[in-house]
């Protein structure tokens, strides 16, 4: 009687979303945005712990990084899209997780498609096949962040018997 079991069970969000995933993504977002609020020169930015923290996972090229009053953020334009949208999308999606859970059969496809777009654009820029503007890079990052948030919310939705 699997069908009855599915009908009578209710979906809940795993507490890991609130206690681990959301704080972690919020931490990355705050740190990524923070250098212009703590440093007043490129020298300080270059030596900052915020830049060092992301240096393992982002190229941080100055010409591909947004700056506030001349001080770059800690990550490139694509990454700032990802890190900015992730915690916001997690909070918003958590209100609609029962509806979003209906996309479960398609989530891997959605995530793979968006990832492929980001990888192709990133690789093309890297190998100088074409150059996309910072705005396009930001948008690809935002879409990847949305897809990741959707993936995480669906992964953290569990069925619990009443």
């Amino acid at each position: 009687m699997t069908g009855n079991r599915d009908l009578s069970s209710r979906s809940v969000l795993h507490p890991l979303l609130y206690y681990v995933v959301l704080p972690a993504t919020l931490f990355f977002a705050v740190v990524a945005w923070s250098p212009p609020f703590f440093h007043s020169s490129l020298v300080e930015w270059h030596e900052s712990w915020q830049r060092l923290l992301f240096s393992r996972i982002c190229h941080q090229q100055l010409d591909r990084t947004f700056a506030v009053q001349g001080i770059p953020l800690a990550v490139c334009s694509r990454c700032i899209g990802i890190y900015s949208v992730l915690p916001v999308a997690l909070v918003v999606f958590s209100f609609f997780f029962t509806v979003l859970n209906k996309a479960k059969p398609y989530i891997v496809g959605i995530f793979a498609t968006v990832s492929l777009i980001v990888i192709v654009d990133g690789a093309a820029n890297l190998f100088q096949l074409w150059q996309t503007s910072d705005l396009i890079r930001l948008l690809t990052g935002v879409f990847w962040g949305l897809a990741t948030a959707l993936l995480l919310v669906i992964a953290l939705t569990t069925n619990r018997d009443p």
Binding site: F27, L53, Q60, L126, A155
Partner: protein
Amino acid sequence: MEPVQSKSYWNASAKAGVVFGFVVFLVSTIGSYITIHSEPTGNLLSGTILASVLGCLVAIFGGVLAVKFYINEYGPEMKIGQGAVIGLMTGIVMAVVSQILALIWPVIDGAFIENLQTALIANIEFSDQIPAAQKEGMIDGIYAQFQNFYSVGNILQGFLMGVVTYGLLNVLSGLLAAKFMGRTPQPEL
């Protein structure tokens, strides 16, 4: 009464952490050599672009591999939280392994630090994005950074940064792997 087998995460985390710690170190070191052997472009991190992008992509698979090892060892029944813990532990092992290898490599290639320092400084001098007044300060910063390469503070900082980035990224990949590769344990009736 049969003895209860305790399911340790360490085996899976250690194996995946060592593998991916080595891979992350390898990608980063290759990136450094690309910087060393390239003409200065003015980009601070010209040769390490590939390394940092690949490093990010590669690093998140540590948690996935660790969960795979765990499933191979104990079967697919696991909770999402277990995947997150396995991912965190894998990230910590990755940080330790990559940090140790990064400290050993300059001993093997004695000119590595000096060459990398020279290449980075050449890029700063060539850059048109850095105001001339700030170039000197950045070059001084790079000198200081490489002179303190083996200082306790520098080593601890590198380790801590690795734990935070690899740890948190692999928490996410570990829990996703547990969800999609594992199976939620059913309560006994």
